[in-house]
Symmetry: C2
């Protein structure tokens, strides 16, 4: 998606430790007109794939997941990072390692909202080592639902998580893939 | 908003401890068609009020904030619940008490995204004792921005937070106000 690369070039900031800050348009502050275009692009990529539900993890995936769900005309479900008092009944849960925060956390979703009949599209803002997606795939598997694929706004191709999932036969679509990144520049993978 | 009351009546569940569970359509699982209507209704209420930015708190406010921002054509900013490694530079922060989780947490927003020139509409899913809104109002005040008002999906009128803010002269619009709630039924405030 040309517009995603342009936004990253113009507004993204490369921070020490391999962090790309896109807080001015994608998280923290969200350009809602751009967000709607991101949702429409994800819907275009997965049109006709039979998606019945979008699944993401709180919190930075929620806005993109909502935009994708609106554009696809299907509900969004977001997995929570720890059990709270307003998740009752049976849940599916899995352990995820956060690269950004260098910590493990439990991801939980109510079994009421992920059904064996669902065809699930995973949506997230970043795809780096892929641990978050692997966790969501585990939740989909626990529910006995079908995984349609995954859509991410920005993939850090140099961390390999996206390609590892593709090698397993999972359809992973990222709107921009960064193959190299430093404070002197960003190289995007061709043809995205 | 008649549709909000209808969704609460049909899908809401009253849990012990004054908790209303709306996980099937408003948080956890989000009915994205309904979400777009909620955003449009908030935009209708605040049309012409000069809103330049929507401000919410992660994570259950993000989807509604994004829908409202899309409908108003302005950016969404979400305050984070604790400082993370990808919020750099100067921040505004304030302490908020969570009724649902019975704990205090720090809410942080980057000063890059809340400017003295901003006219801010606060958006959240629930308004109960109003502590989250008071925290957001403090962030707006720290930024020297102007507060336009607050829009909430569901107000628990019996907890008094919304009316206390209205008595201070703040414009608070809730799409449904619950004046009484028990496992035998829900009474909505007239005229909302």
């Amino acid at each position: 998606m040309e517009l995603m690369e342009q936004k990253i070039r113009e507004e993204g900031k490369v921070l020490p430790g391999g962090i790309l800050k896109v807080g001015s348009f994608l998280n923290q502050q969200i350009d809602t007109g751009f967000l709607a275009q991101v949702g429409a692009e994800i819907a275009r990529l997965f049109q006709g794939a039979g998606v019945s539900k979008v699944l993401t993890i709180e919190s930075s995936g929620i806005a993109i997941g909502a935009a994708a769900g609106m554009a696809l005309g299907v509900p969004l479900v977001f997995a929570k990072k720890h059990k709270t008092s307003n998740v009752d009944g049976n849940t599916y849960s899995t352990l995820v390692h956060s690269y950004t925060h260098n910590t493990d956390y439990t991801v939980v979703v109510s079994s009421d909202y992920l059904l064996p009949s669902d065809h699930v599209l995973l949506v997230d803002d970043f795809l780096a080592n892929g641990k978050a997606l692997v966790g969501l795939i585990d939740l989909v598997s626990q529910a006995g639902a079908e995984l349609v694929g995954a859509a991410c706004a920005i993939e850090k191709g140099f961390q390999g998580g996206g390609d590892a999932l593709r090698e397993k036969g999972i359809r992973v679509e990222s709107l921009a893939i960064i193959d190299e990144m430093s404070d002197t520049g960003i190289t995007f993978r061709e043809g995205k």
